[in-house]
Structures are given as structure tokens and as C-alpha cells.
């Protein structure tokens, strides 16, 4: 593991949720912001933490900015470790919420 498990906040869970919906897809930061509704001040540090923990990998999109007519996007993708850990967390969270829901009824 890279630099330990990242801090698990609702924002981080939201980001992982976006990646788990399409694990093999490369997603840009702006698209994650659109899907999660997170502001850039929260999104990029969370992405940085996930990348540092090697749960995410990032690379520049193909193409030259001049040809694209806009700045290149940094594309994020879930690593095998990230997918495994994210699924584990999701199952734990589901278990916990399920337990709470069961107790409350």
C-alpha cells in the first residue's frame, strides 16, 4: 500500500462511489465534481489523498491543448488496490447501515 489508507469521509466515499459505478473508466476531476456536487476545494485534496494511497492513478488525456482547444484534462482511474479497498468499504458501510436500519424497525 502506498501511504496508508486515506481518511474516509463522506466526500471520499462519494468519489469512490463514482469510480465503482464504472471501475475501468477514466474520469476527469471536473466530471467527478459534476457527479458528486463537490467543490474543487474539497475534491482535489480528496483525489490527492486517494492518489497518494495508490487507490487512484492519474494521467493526462491524449492530445495537445492547441488541437483540443482547451487545457488537457487529468484523467483518474481506480487501481486494483483501490477497487478492492473501495468494495470492502462499501460492503462494510452497507452492512452497518443495514444493521442500523434493521434495529430501527
Amino acid at each position: 500500500m502506498g501511504n496508508g489508507a486515506p481518511r474516509m469521509t463522506t466526500q471520499t466515499l462519494g468519489i469512490l462511489g463514482v469510480f465503482l459505478a464504472c471501475p475501468s473508466q477514466e474520469i476527469a476531476g471536473a466530471d467527478i465534481a459534476k457527479r458528486t456536487g463537490l467543490k474543487s476545494g474539497t475534491l482535489y485534496p480528496a483525489l490527492f489523498r486517494l492518489e497518494r494511497a495508490e487507490w487512484l492513478q492519474s494521467k493526462w488525456e491524449e492530445g495537445v491543448p492547441k488541437e483540443l482547444g482547451r487545457p488537457r484534462r487529468r484523467m483518474y482511474i481506480l487501481t486494483a488496490l483501490g477497487e478492492e479497498q473501495a468494495r470492502l468499504i462499501c460492503s462494510r458501510v452497507t452492512e452497518m447501515i443495514g444493521g442500523i436500519a434493521w434495529q430501527s424497525t
Partner: protein
């Protein structure tokens, strides 16, 4: 009285109008400044990457204006995380030194305290006292090696 209120109202309207126009004119400049400051807050090795990435982000959300102030928060946090890594690396490095120094201080104190408080010379002390000192010294050496081992593992784990 009514005349004064009317004059005041017109003046206030003009003033608010002028101020809003000024603010609108200054907004792109402020956004640019916020963006530049955010990028400059980052360590030099990360500036190019985040500058391009965040410019792409702004392009995806047109008309956000002062929303670029959000990048200040992001830059502060990323900078903080990177500095924490550096601090941790330094702490791990100096922790090993601290144990070495602690061990030497212990040896020195052992000699000095026995000179000050002990009625017996170190060579004539009880064998049990000598043995306990040896055990403490051995434990300190063991702790030192464990810490050194841990620090070397952590140092390799921390991404530069």
C-alpha cells in the same frame, strides 16, 4: 424631508450601480489572482500539473468567477499534506538519533548518578544492579533497532 429622501435614494442607487459595475469589472482579475496564488502555494514540483488541471476544471464550469477561490483551499490542503509527509520523514530520521542520544545519556547518567548518590563504586556494586543495568541497556538497543527498522520501512513507503 421628502426631497432629501429622494436625493438620498437616487444617490444610493447610483452608488450601488457603480459599485456593482466595478465589482463585475474586477471579478475576472480577482479570479485570476486567486488562481495564481493557489498555484504558487503549491510546491514547485506540483505547480505545472495542478495549474493545467485546474484550468481545465474552470473551463468545464464557465462563469464561476470567484469560485476559483476554492482552489486556494485545495492548494492549502495539498500543501499541508505534502508538508506533513516531509515532517514525518524528518521526525522518523531524528527519532533514531533521539534514541541514540537517549542511550548515551542513560550510560552517562548511570555513571554520574552512581558517583553522586551511590556510596559504592561502580565496580563494587551488587551483581543484581549490574545485571539490571545490562538488561535496560539491552532493551534500549533492541528498541533502537526496532525503531530503525520501522523508520526504514516508513521512509520507503512515503512517496516523494
Amino acid at each position: 424631508m421628502a426631497k432629501h429622501i429622494a436625493v438620498l435614494g437616487v444617490t444610493a442607487t447610483l452608488l450601488v450601480n457603480w459599485l456593482s459595475n466595478e465589482a463585475k469589472a474586477w471579478l475576472p482579475w480577482c479570479a485570476r489572482r486567486f488562481f495564481d496564488i493557489s498555484v504558487r502555494l503549491l510546491p514547485a514540483s506540483r505547480r505545472e500539473r495542478y495549474s493545467e488541471e485546474w484550468r481545465g476544471h474552470i473551463e468545464s464550469f464557465p462563469g464561476t468567477g470567484l469560485a476559483s477561490a476554492q482552489f486556494l483551499l485545495a492548494a492549502f490542503e495539498i500543501r499541508g499534506l505534502l508538508m506533513k509527509d516531509v515532517f514525518l520523514r524528518r521526525w522518523i530520521h531524528y527519532r533514531t538519533h533521539a534514541v541514540w542520544i537517549g542511550f548515551l545519556v542513560y550510560c552517562w547518567l548511570n555513571v554520574q548518578l552512581s558517583r553522586i548518590f551511590g556510596s559504592q563504586k561502580p565496580s563494587t556494586r551488587e551483581p543484581s544492579v549490574e545485571n539490571s543495568n545490562l538488561v535496560i541497556a539491552a532493551l534500549l538497543i533492541l528498541i533502537m533497532f526496532v525503531l530503525m527498522e520501522q523508520s526504514s520501512k516508513k521512509q520507503s513507503a512515503i512517496a516523494v
